[in-house]
Amino acid sequence: MSTFFLSMALGLLFLMLFSMYRALFGPTVLDRLIGVNAIGSKTVILLLLIGFLYERVDMFVDIALAYAFLNFITVLVASRYFHKRKGLYEESFMD
């Protein structure tokens, strides 16, 4: 079962690369924000899997819960911050 969890974690890491592409090369700032949010929601599961691999789930559950909170606060604050940039994205919206 431990091997299966390890392969699951590696699969999640592989999927993170897809979102990392969007976070690095996204046309607008908000696209990068979507990529960061997707990476964060995968990290929550990854932390739980790491907890099962090291057999310290009781500790890693708390870390995963705190990470979920932090991810939510990050997205909320960043999108509030970019409210005021009116007309910033017009030229990047071409295709």
Binding site: M8, V75, F82
Partner: protein
């Protein structure tokens, strides 16, 4: 019992894969939010369900509390994910970002 755990984890990974592919392939930022916000939510739900079932193999009070704590994560994500998505959409609207339509593409 292990079959159920494997099934749930594979399903969750499949949902995450759909979300990642959707984020790459969708044409504009509003439609990218659809797979990003929601397929990830269901992926978290499926994977945490599988892990919580695996955690209850050796049944005890501590294991039950751990599983409840895991479902607390799911509950919180279900509550917070629409709010985060709505916040990003609102930021895009206020910045004056137009959304991609089919007619505009043809013309």
């Amino acid at each position: 019992m292990d079959i159920l755990v494997v099934l749930f984890l594979i399903t969750g990974l499949f949902f995450f894969l759909g979300g990642a592919v959707g984020i790459i392939r969708m044409p504009d930022f509003y439609s990218r939010l659809h797979p990003a916000g929601k397929l990830d939510t269901l992926g978290i739900f499926a994977m945490v369900t599988g892990l919580a079932i695996y955690n209850l193999h050796h049944f005890s009070l501590e294991a039950l509390l751990l599983s409840i704590k895991m479902f607390l994560i799911v509950f919180f994500v279900f509550l917070s994910s629409p709010t985060a998505t709505h916040s990003i959409v609102d930021a895009g609207m206020r910045a004056g970002l137009r959304h991609w339509t089919k007619k505009k593409r043809k013309g």
